[in-house]
Amino acid sequence: MTKEELKYKLGEISREAAFDETGEFLNVIIPSPELLPLIKPLRLNKEFYFDYLFCITCVDWKDYLSMVYHLTSTLHRHTCVVQATITDVHCPQIESVSGIWKTAELNENEIYDLFGVTFLNHPNLRRLFLGDQWKGYPLRKDYTDEHMILL
């Protein structure tokens, strides 16, 4: 499917979706509660068939967080990027996609570890790299550590 076709079909699924076509891939920007209703058809629907989630990222924009999902289809060879905006920075929560793509399980653990995003319905949400005693989430912009970070 071309970018234009994807954009048209995705607009039909989610009315709240905004689109950004400046990058290499089509970006779909949605609020975080809209994630599962949008992303499930992307995996299950035969004409999308996004069977490969190749990257999950979290971005801290200070007043909100973005979860970025890079999806591609090994069948149709098309790619799109779903960006879910989390407005609550103090207690960020989003639905886990590990039930749809198993690979998301460890990625979401990592994001929980470094950004503190809680993934609802995640089978085993835990600190992945840092110890269980670690306080705070080091990749957040407001993270401070007076012993380690000097500037």
Binding site: P138, D145, H147, M148, I149, L150
Partner: protein, 187 residues
């Protein structure tokens, strides 16, 4: 030692007195033990990032550190007496490095290779995970600056370590201080 014909020979500490029955060597125990120690340093195979690549070059055919007695690189700390800390040490690696060092038999020596092991390198100011200098964890004998240092610099540092060993007392305990700074690291 005599110069000239014997110039290419390994400089042996002491004086050889020849006699009809063979000969006699007059030397100091410190000097001869240190001579042996410094000329057969066994480095531990240990590298955590790009400095390790330069270290491998120093071991390879072009720079060939076996010319100076370092050829027996060991894969276990229990058989090594030199650890070249080549690369960034993060907080998670710090206890492992300490344990490796503790497992090495005395006498043991440490070379801090590159900016990361000296001070935390490019990660000095703004990272939550990097140890700001390996001397917070283990005592360092020789520091080699660079990012990463060239193999020649590493060889120079290793030869400097040999010179240092040659001037150390063998039996008096050599006190090594760790510049332990509570503010920077908690292990």
């Amino acid at each position: 030692m005599k110069k000239g014909k014997e110039e290419n020979k390994i400089v042996f500490p002491g004086q050889l007195h020849e006699s009809p029955e063979g000969g006699m060597l007059v030397t100091k125990l410190d000097e001869i033990v240190n001579w042996a120690r410094s000329n057969s340093l066994w480095p531990l195979i240990f590298g955590t990032s790009c400095c390790a690549i330069e270290m491998m070059h120093a071991a390879g055919a072009k720079y060939d550190w076996s010319r100076f007695g370092f050829e027996v690189a060991r894969a276990t700390p229990r058989q090594a007496d030199l650890i070249i800390v080549a690369g960034t040490i993060v907080m998670k690696m710090a206890p492992v490095l300490k344990r490796l060092y503790d497992q090495m038999p005395d006498p043991k020596y440490v070379i801090a290779m590159g900016a990361c092991t000296i001070s935390g390198g490019p990660f000095f100011y703004n990272t939550y995970s990097v140890v700001k200098g390996v001397d917070h964890i283990i005592p360092v004998d020789v520091y080699i600056p660079g990012c990463p240092p060239r193999p020649e610099a590493l060889l120079h540092g290793m030869i400097a370590l040999q010179e240092k060993i040659k001037h150390q007392p063998v039996f008096r305990k050599n006190k090594k201080e760790i510049h332990h700074d509570e503010r920077r690291i908690k292990i």
